[in-house]
């Protein structure tokens, strides 16, 4: 089955290469509108056809795995998809620990793989409509393909170094895609920020890989997991890996890049926040879960991080005016749930929530894209009363918000319940804190989901008073429902978002589910009450003086700027000044000193021959006198 896996990974890669190199061939030179349109059409085919093929192959792989009689395991995917396969394509000899280019397909990777290809294909199809008039659509779709390919590589990698390669390519692609509208300085800044912050985590990640690899004597995941590694080493390695996880999955304290990454086109947000990049962090922990289980302090840290992240991000989401930023903070919050699930010892709950979250968050983002596409603005204060003008999107997003809030029967209800139940029953030292945070977050989640839903689709319509669209936002306003290529993915994604939860319906802990449901509804109800009182106004006013802090995400960016950026800038300025004044000054000063001295000497070199002769004779006399006196 390894060739099939390789094909799944390579097809999007080939699509990326073809889209980058071939979409304009053979008439690449002239940038006429007709050419652009033809190139976009061709690029769309290049993007969608391999994506579809990849999806079909993944499904076939899943079917094969389901039928196979696998080795089994504790995780639920082992029961669902018991078949697994692993194959080494080549071994790169490095002189110490060899790198084996290994692919591995088991239940976990196939599950995530399905999520990835489905969301990616949905995003590609959606982008055809969303980015219809963009002159750089070809490179955009090619980057998405490359992104998909990289994520699939991460998912199917059987070797940590191979995994790391995909991991890094993803970082690159996120940079390219977030900065797609680089004409606006803010967008390119956001791209650079995302790149740098995730890179900060990647450093730790890379060293974590090295630590593990060195300790195990191999980079192969099997070997690493089965190796007998001392606990200290394991804690060090997992802590380092955690940095990478926090970076990629936007966990505290490296979460700041994600809200800013909303500068990219909305489908990109869907892709990054639902299926690929942020999922990668959670996936890695799940993949290496045995190692993490051996390092309890790491899991404790992860739990604290998750607790802080889920509540803080949810509160921040509650105060945002930008619909996409609401969803972004929501993503951070939900990812923190998954991290919490992992910290609580249940990788199954985390992956389950990852899957459902991937579905409903992609749905929400694509729906938000459709709304933005319709309104021409990201800001909820510009929206309102949209349920009548875009009913299809309204329906899709209602399902999405329900899943987010954890309302039955939407998928989020089951997965979140699983996570909360896992937290409730865990024996981690951070358990009480984590549990309290999780429950509180459920309430806040209900509140902000309700608020976003109400602000967007209910209340008075403010569409007519719109200003011209700004760069960096969706740039087409046609006042109708979005094109069909955008609606189809919404419809398709709505199905798993609604129904995926029933996959695990048997294991629902109804007690804790009821508690969380009540808390969630309580939060939603408070918001609804506030909203009923004054539909024109933002229900976030209930936060009172706390609102600004929430809106600014508790000043983390400012704090970072004050703690890291400014001192570093000051240091850099100092270094520059030192270089200019001390180092260059020494160089220039020595030059100037030489020039000055030579200037003094030059005074004698004034071209007056008589002066020369005078000096000559004076010297001669001195020598004579000296010779006579001394001799």
């Amino acid at each position: 089955m390894i060739p099939v896996v390789a094909l799944i990974v390579l097809l999007p890669f080939a699509a990326a290469a073809a889209g980058l190199l071939g979409s304009r061939w053979p008439r690449g030179g002239s940038r006429t509108e007709a050419n652009d349109r033809a190139a976009a059409r061709r690029a769309a085919w290049f993007a969608i056809a391999p994506g579809t093929a990849s999806l079909l192959l993944t499904l076939w792989l899943a079917v094969w795995s389901a039928r196979a009689s696998g080795s089994g395991g504790t995780a639920f995917w082992a029961g669902l998809l018991p078949g697994s396969t692993e194959g080494t394509l080549t071994v790169v000899d490095t002189g110490s620990v060899p790198i084996s280019v290994t692919l591995r397909a088991d239940g976990l990777s196939i599950l995530i793989g399905v999520l990835v290809v489905v969301v990616a294909l949905a995003v590609q199809v959606y982008s055809v409509g969303y980015m219809r008039d963009d002159p750089r659509y070809a490179s955009y779709s090619a980057f998405i393909s490359l992104f998909t390919s990289a994520m699939l590589l991460v998912v199917y990698a059987g070797d940590l170094i191979v995994l790391y390669a995909g991991w890094e390519i993803m970082g690159l692609c996120s940079y390219l895609l977030i900065g797609h509208w680089w004409e606006d300085r803010a967008n390119s800044r956001a791209a650079v920020k995302a790149f740098l912050v995730t890179r900060l985590g990647d450093v730790g990640f890379l060293f974590g890989i090295f630590t593990l690899g060195m300790a195990a004597g191999s980079f192969r995941i099997d070997a690493v997991l089965s190796a007998d590694i001392p606990t200290g080493t394991l804690i060090t390695a997992t802590m380092l890996l955690l940095a990478g996880v926090a970076g990629k999955s936007a966990q505290v304290p490296l979460q700041t890049w994600l809200p800013d990454a909303m500068a990219g086109p909305t489908p990109i947000s869907a892709l990054i926040h639902a299926a690929t990049m942020v999922a990668a962090g959670i996936f890695i922990v799940a993949r290496l879960y045995p190692a993490f289980l051996g390092a309890q302090p790491t899991l404790d840290v992860l739990g604290v991080v998750a607790a802080v992240g889920m509540l803080g991000a949810a509160l921040a989401a509650l105060a945002q005016n930008d619909l996409k930023r609401v969803l972004a903070y929501s993503t951070i919050s939900q990812l923190a749930y998954m991290a919490g699930g992992l910290a609580a010892g249940s990788d199954k709950a985390a992956i389950f929530h990852l899957l459902t979250h991937g579905a409903f968050k992609a749905l929400l983002f694509l729906g938000a894209g459709a709304v933005i596409h319709h309104v021409g603005s990201n800001l909820m204060s510009h929206m309102g009363g949209l349920r009548t003008s875009i009913p299809f999107t309204f329906a899709g997003m209602t399902i999405g918000f329900a899943a987010l809030m954890g309302l039955p029967p939407a998928s989020g209800f089951f997965s979140k319940d699983a996570v909360i139940a896992a937290i409730e029953h865990s024996h981690s030292p951070a358990q009480p804190f984590l549990y309290a945070a999780a429950l509180l977050t459920v309430g806040v989640t209900g509140a902000y989901a309700m608020r976003a839903w109400l602000r967007t689709f209910f209340g008075p319509s403010r569409v007519e008073a719109l200003p011209e669209p700004e760069p960096g936002t969706a740039h087409v306003f046609d006042g109708r429902e979005a094109p069909r290529s955008m609606l189809w993915p919404i419809g398709v994604l709505a199905v798993p978002a609604l129904l995926l939860g029933f996959a695990d319906v048997a294991e629902v802990d109804w007690g804790s589910a009821l508690v969380s449901l009540i808390v969630g509804l309580l939060g939603a109800g408070v918001v609804y009450t506030f909203w009923r009182g004054a539909p024109h106004q933002d229900p976030a006013r209930m936060l009172g003086p706390f609102r600004t802090a929430c809106e600014r995400a508790f000043y983390v960016d400012e704090a970072y700027r004050a703690v890291f950026a400014r001192p570093i800038l000051r240091l850099a300025h100092g270094v520059v000044r030192t270089d200019r004044q001390v180092v260059d000054g020494a160089v220039r000063g020595s030059g100037r000193l030489t020039m000055g001295l030579s200037g003094v000497v030059r005074l004698a070199q004034n071209g007056n021959a008589q002066l020369y002769v005078t000096g000559l004779l004076a010297g001669l006399l001195l020598i004579t006198v000296a010779a006579v006196v001394l001799g």
Partner: protein, 130 residues
Amino acid sequence: MHIVYPVVVSALLFSIGVYGVLARRNAILVLMSVELMLNAVNLNLVAFDVWLRDRLHGGQVLTLFVIVIAAAEIGLGLAIVLAVYRNRRSIDVDRLRDLAEGDAPEVSPQSEVSPGRVAVGEDADREAGS
């Protein structure tokens, strides 16, 4: 005859010539001073020739040679001085500063029309033609 007399006269004459060479700015005056120095040497030569009673008359013969060389020198020197005068309208040795490092202070701005040739003062425009 005490040899010290001609030798002292010679030494003083030489010193006077030294002063002239160093202090005079007109090139012809400098040439004259050089002649004074040469004459001082000649006087010395003659005096020592007499003192040593040289049978070969080396001193006096050398004096004659020096005189001849002085004549040749004055001919060439004047030719050079005249060539300089033709080009620069000046034979002040302290204004002939092409050897100076950097800009010679004497070069007036309007005279920098032709590089490599420092024309002095208002004579710059009516040079050559002779």
